[in-house]
Symmetry: C2
Subunit: 365 residues, 2 copies
Amino acid sequence: MPVGTAGSVKGIRFEELQAPDLDARIILGNTYHLWLRPGIEVIKACGGLHNFIGWDRAMLTDSGGFQVWSLTEIRKVTEEGTEFRSHIDGALKFLSPEISMEVQSVLGAEIAMAFDECPPGQIEHDAARQSMELTLRWANRSKEALDQLQAGDNQRGSAGMDAGEPQAGMPALRQALFGIIQGGAHLDLRRESLERTVEIGFDGYAIGGLSVGEEKPVMLDIIEDIAPLMPSDKARYLMGVGTPEDLIESVARGVDMFDCVLPTRNGRNGQAFTSRGKVNIKNARFATDTRPLDEQCSCAVCRRHSRAFIRHLYLAGEMLASILLTHHNLAFFLDTMRRVRQAIRSGQFAKFRREFTEQLSSGLE
Amino acid sequence: MPVGTAGSVKGIRFEELQAPDLDARIILGNTYHLWLRPGIEVIKACGGLHNFIGWDRAMLTDSGGFQVWSLTEIRKVTEEGTEFRSHIDGALKFLSPEISMEVQSVLGAEIAMAFDECPPGQIEHDAARQSMELTLRWANRSKEALDQLQAGDNQRGSAGMDAGEPQAGMPALRQALFGIIQGGAHLDLRRESLERTVEIGFDGYAIGGLSVGEEKPVMLDIIEDIAPLMPSDKARYLMGVGTPEDLIESVARGVDMFDCVLPTRNGRNGQAFTSRGKVNIKNARFATDTRPLDEQCSCAVCRRHSRAFIRHLYLAGEMLASILLTHHNLAFFLDTMRRVRQAIRSGQFAKFRREFTEQLSSGLE
């Protein structure tokens, strides 16, 4: 999932996200960011997030738990919820499972996330258990809150998603809700978190609290242990991950879904992801290089523009550099996942994984 | 002509410039900027400006005269040329008619501009005459220099534009060269400049040195006096102008071509040009306004996005705000010129001018 934090996948238009070379079927929005700005009243008045931003494909909204932890000065975590200061204006705000669900209900994404506490990667066992227990209680409250909101919505008609009349013969709209597995780097806690989250019962399950400062082998070990235990008939979502290598290695361990800002953020910083590894477009060796960013890529950018031109744009401070690198990077990530799915369907994933990984480390010519 | 100063029309992709709602047939590039960065050797190595940037439609390159005047600390203007300091790194540089033509020959745009001296808008008669005489001598030298370069190119084949073989049956590529009329705000000098520039003989004629600080009535008076005297079988190009009103009023006085950064620059600053006048998208009254920027516009942005969303993007510092406003503004300017051409063809220009101007001052609902 390309990440559209504040209602925009940075540097790319929705038309491009839908074009055949990207064909993103689902994007991510952030409850935390959208709640603070433009605020839920604005989005409600504009008919929900799909209508507000002009995107009619699927969306998933994060619950705000991770952003509260990573972006704010947290004032107080209580049983009720989290008090923190807005990263925009320092205003004192309070987020709880019920508030997060209320916001996500108005946003109206196809998939909502339970409100969790996201502990630091290095958290000790005792603290990790306490945090996990809190996340489990919040998961229960998230589910109850969203169920109630949806029951209310269904009585009133399909509010939130569409201002129009419900279509005859269409089922009432229901947002899916995913639970989040926490437990830090402690496998016993991770397993318990998974088991008890599945007991509550969600439409899909996410592994949260990884890629937050722990070592990479720790992350892959946890995924290797936990992913196969996750219900095989529900989506398995690894939150906030990762590099192309991370995606392949996590798929190999059983993960289905990802979101990450790497393709967009690194694109804005002059970095291209290619089939032969990462490339810093500022490098002088590209000054007169008329080849595309990735000679194996058929995205709109690689069909039209050279490394030399994109380097020039970047050095000249032209916005188009970010736009083109973002487009190519998203194309590369989404195409990689398409190839992964194709390889799995044809029983060739092991071969694909080996060849993809080998090529990724070969370096750009 | 959308302005692509450094090889990019800021904030918009070439695909969008070519899409039906914009359909830009020609864009402008700047000799000054491209000469300083990435430098002419890079563009030569990449096969000329069309190939370098990935644009196969027409281009016009400015000669650098205006940019030297407006962007640099000029050190010395001599008969030979202009010595100045680069606005990028302060390096001492020298630009002359011959150097400008050499650079423009490598850039390979369909239309090159003579190298002129651009005096300030308020220049006195004596100084304006001296400057005009210098511009005339430089016009002569520009023409001779480009003629020689093209003769050389034609002997060598179609260098600069395309690295491939010239196609059988195709005439040798020849860049058009436009002369520039100067003379400050002094009508007698403007007329003399026109007459003597036409004597030298160019493929088209531009009015330079307007929209540089003089009063708007002064500009329109000069255009009203000069444009009808310009050869009617050659393009009449008003450089660096202007607002939608300026375009209509200048067309009414006989002008054919324009270039201006207003639609792109003001778009990046949160300003939309609409059929009912300029709009500051930051305005709070748009917070929940689900209408498009311009209800009469059928561009891709107005078909998809609301004022409320674009306002949100702008306030959140999202790059997409600039991208969408730039796209809409260019669509509005290019569509206005299409409607102007249509009105002229059907003999309805006077009516169009009256109605367009009236609506422009009516304000957005």
